[in-house]
């Protein structure tokens, strides 16, 4: 028996024990189980088989079959499998057992399912995560009978800053002091030491999933997906396109996959250079920040030259890409990369050896490995805490199976380790782009005609600069029936609590920034005016001026 059929047998046996049905579709193992067995199966998957819990998806399937459904998405990174653990819930009164006692990483996605689809979770404390506090309790925007342009009446309520009797409360937010993104942390401090942390997010939930499911076509959603994040937008649109292509079993031309990988790596370069600049700025080393951003500009120019835009490249479509890379562009890329490599090396060597920088980064914001595993953190945060995981290598997509690269792993789990992971990755990305350009095959760059049958499921993970993006698609008529997005910061924020505790107050902004957070791509609903006034924006009639 081959290795992969042995692995499959392991999952089949597991399903058999719990009387669940199993189907294998490409690289995805679908397990359909009764709700009451969810915690037990999840326990096995997470704690015994060492699968990573990526997210969960609640879907209103009542128009199709009268039920709600809940799907926990795992990946078996050491064998390259996706595992979707699905269960059907009552159409009238959806209730599911919570799995957070065995999979702590599922905390947020369960509460999001409760807010947006109205699934109640048993055996845990429930709280409102995504919807604003004044939103009516029975309005669940991701249910299919909820119109996408409907705004329920909101009661204007304020949220109280919690005050802790023993410790003083220091609010950080509503904007991060350096990242200019909406977040709100409450740090409880005793003297100079942080004793606990509370996070309140989702101020900018934009309703992207609902919009994609309601009034956009398959191809239009690519452009919406790209706008989930201002920095790793291309990862999101690639992830969406790959998920749909997987669901529809499309055979996308190789050349398109190479171009995707090249642009993905270019995006990683710009993102890591940006982060290093910000980190230097946060520790007060502005010269390092300026020089980092000076050389980053070359990458920005390069992305515009290759795609037509500095950011939000807009070249992904389901079935391929819109822009080719010719010989002239190829040589220009190679030329830029070699200057970049040289300059980057010079600057990081200098900047990281500045004694003050080194001291601020070393030993601060430590995330131990066991917490990192429990919370299923992503990307450089995981790799700096000794977790050897990278979707590009473990769950290869686009053209990554054709290149060789190292995945940098550090074990200290501190801010320095996270910086070093990113520095190493810059060199790896440069080498990857070179290999890809060298091997890029000839041929078309997109499929001209194809069909997307309804009712198919596609799950995809794409390694963004800050960790794995997860997109889950159930296909529908002309547009996705269900589109679920999870950005990496979603899993990294809960880890901040561990990283900030027992640390000096002064390191907080740097530690928060060290996960390279992207609050806006983690948040996905509607902003409601604090005065409770609901502005009517007619979406079909354009913007009223």
């Amino acid at each position: 028996m081959s290795e992969s059929s042995l692995i499959l047998k392991k999952y089949m046996d597991l399903a058999n024990v719990f009387n669940a049905s199993v189907t294998v579709d490409g690289d995805t193992i679908h397990i359909l189980a009764k709700p009451e067995y969810l915690p037990k199966i999840a326990d096995k998957l997470f704690n015994e088989f060492k699968c990573v819990h990526r997210t969960c998806v609640a879907t209103d399937e009542r128009p199709l079959n009268g039920f709600f459904s809940l799907t926990h998405l795992f990946t078996d990174d050491s064998h390259g499998f996706y595992i979707s653990l699905k269960t059907y819930l009552d159409g009238e009164n959806p209730k599911a057992p919570s799995i957070i006692s065995v999979v702590p990483a599922a905390d947020w996605c369960e509460m999001e399912a409760r807010d947006l689809v109205g699934v109640e979770f048993e055996g845990r404390e429930s709280y409102r995560l995504v919807l604003p506090p004044g939103w009516p309790a029975d309005a669940h925007p991701l249910r299919k009978d909820f119109q996408y342009d409907k705004r329920p009446n909101i009661l204007p309520v304020g949220e109280k800053v919690s005050t802790n009797e023993e410790a003083s409360t220091i609010p950080v937010g509503p904007y991060h002091p350096a990242l200019h993104e909406p977040e709100y942390f409450e740090l409880y401090v005793e003297g100079e030491r942080i004793v606990d942390v509370k996070y309140r997010g989702f101020h900018v939930h934009r309703g992207i999933e609902k919009l994609g499911e309601s009034r956009m076509t398959y191809q239009q959603v690519n452009f919406l997906a790209e706008r989930i994040c201002g920095i790793c937008g291309f990862e999101h649109s690639t992830c969406y396109a790959l998920a749909v292509e997987k669901a529809a079993k499309l055979d996308v031309p190789e050349r398109a996959q190479y171009i995707r990988s090249i642009i993905l790596e270019i995006e990683r370069l710009h993102s890591h250079l940006l982060w290093l600049g910000v980190a230097f700025h946060l520790v007060g080393y502005d010269a390092g920040f300026m020089h980092m951003w000076r050389i980053r500009e070359k990458i920005m120019y390069l992305s515009e030259y290759l795609t037509g835009s500095r950011k939000t490249y807009g070249i992904n479509l389901v079935g391929g890409v819109r822009k080719d890379i010719n010989e002239e562009k190829k040589s220009k890329v190679l030329e830029t990369l070699s200057t970049l490599e040289k300059e980057f090396k010079e600057i990081v060597e200098v900047a990281v050896s500045v004694p003050q920088v080194k001291r601020r980064l070393t030993g601060t914001g430590v995330l131990p490995k066991e917490d990192a595993v429990k919370l299923a953190v992503e990307g450089p945060v995981a790799r700096a805490s000794g977790i050897d995981r990278d979707a590009r290598r473990d769950l290869p997509y686009a053209a990554y199976k054709h290149v060789s690269f190292k995945v940098p792993v550090y074990t200290e789990g501190d801010n320095l380790a996270r910086a070093l992971v990113r520095i190493d990755e810059v060199f790896e990305s440069i080498s990857m782009i070179r290999q890809l350009l060298d091997q890029i095959p000839k041929g078309p760059i997109r499929l001209e005609e194809f069909e997307i049958p309804p009712g198919r499921i596609g799950v995809q993970v794409v390694e963004a600069p800050r960790g794995g993006d997860v997109h889950f698609v159930i296909t529908g008529e002309g547009k996705p029936y269900r589109w679920r997005v999870r950005a990496p910061t979603y899993n990294n924020i809960p880890a901040l609590r561990v990283m900030l505790r027992d640390q000096p107050m002064a390191d907080a902004p740097l530690t928060i920034a060290s996960i390279d957070p992207c609050f806006s791509c983690t948040d996905r609903v509607v902003v409601i005016g604090k005065d409770g006034v609901i502005k009517k924006l007619s979406l079909t009639g354009g913007v009223m001026l």
Binding site: M216, T217, Q219, Q220, N222, F223, L224, A287, G288, H291, R294, E297, Y301, E304, Y305, L306, T307, G308, S309, T312, G314, R322, K323, E343, E346, I347, E349, V350, A351, S353, V354, P355, L539, G542, V543, L545
Partner: protein, 173 residues
């Protein structure tokens, strides 16, 4: 160089890099040859088919219809400069430009309107597609010419009538 002195190396790097800030708008902006800016619609070519409207992700292009006219409206404030419309226009009426300075103090500068006349139906006075679109269709496949001046409803009726006539040998009961 000793570890201690390493940070001083930045001075060398800085002097080598020199001044990098562009004196924009006095200097040329740093634009690559492939930059995507706003679009322009050639109103002499556009046939009002709406293909661009269907493709446009953020609804920057819209078709607005009333009794006699069909108006294609472009609102640059919503445009994301993706150029999907350029890809899909069947007659090449849309071109992408490299223009990116779009600030204005006159809001009407942000809109472009292309006005089309609707074709009138010979039989019932109802309306169908734009006149230009009919010409375009005729050019592509001349067979439909017979029904050309009728609206979709009357066209359907004429077709059924002709089938009925054929079956009854042209004699109606």
């Amino acid at each position: 160089m000793s570890e201690k002195l390493k940070p001083a190396k930045l001075l060398v790097i800085a002097s080598k890099a020199g001044r990098v800030t562009k004196r924009y708008p006095y200097d040329e902006p740093l634009l690559s040859p492939d930059f995507r800016g706003k679009i322009t619609i050639d109103e002499n070519l556009c046939i009002g088919c709406g293909a661009c409207v269907n493709a446009c992700p953020p609804n920057a292009l819209q078709l607005m219809k009333d009794k006699d006219t069909v108006v294609l409206r472009y609102f640059v404030g919503r445009c994301i400069f993706c150029w999907r419309c350029v890809d899909v226009c069947p007659v090449g009426a849309i071109k992408g430009l490299r223009e990116f300075e779009l600030a204005t103090n006159d809001i009407s500068d942000l809109y472009v309107h292309v006005v089309h006349k609707k074709a009138k139906c010979e039989k019932c006075e109802g309306e169908g597609a734009t006149q230009r679109m009919l010409y375009y269709v005729v050019q592509k496949s001349p067979i439909v010419e017979e029904y050309l001046n009728e609206c979709p409803d009357c066209r359907r009726k004429s077709f059924i009538d002709s089938v009925v006539k054929r079956r009854t040998g042209g004699v109606s009961e």
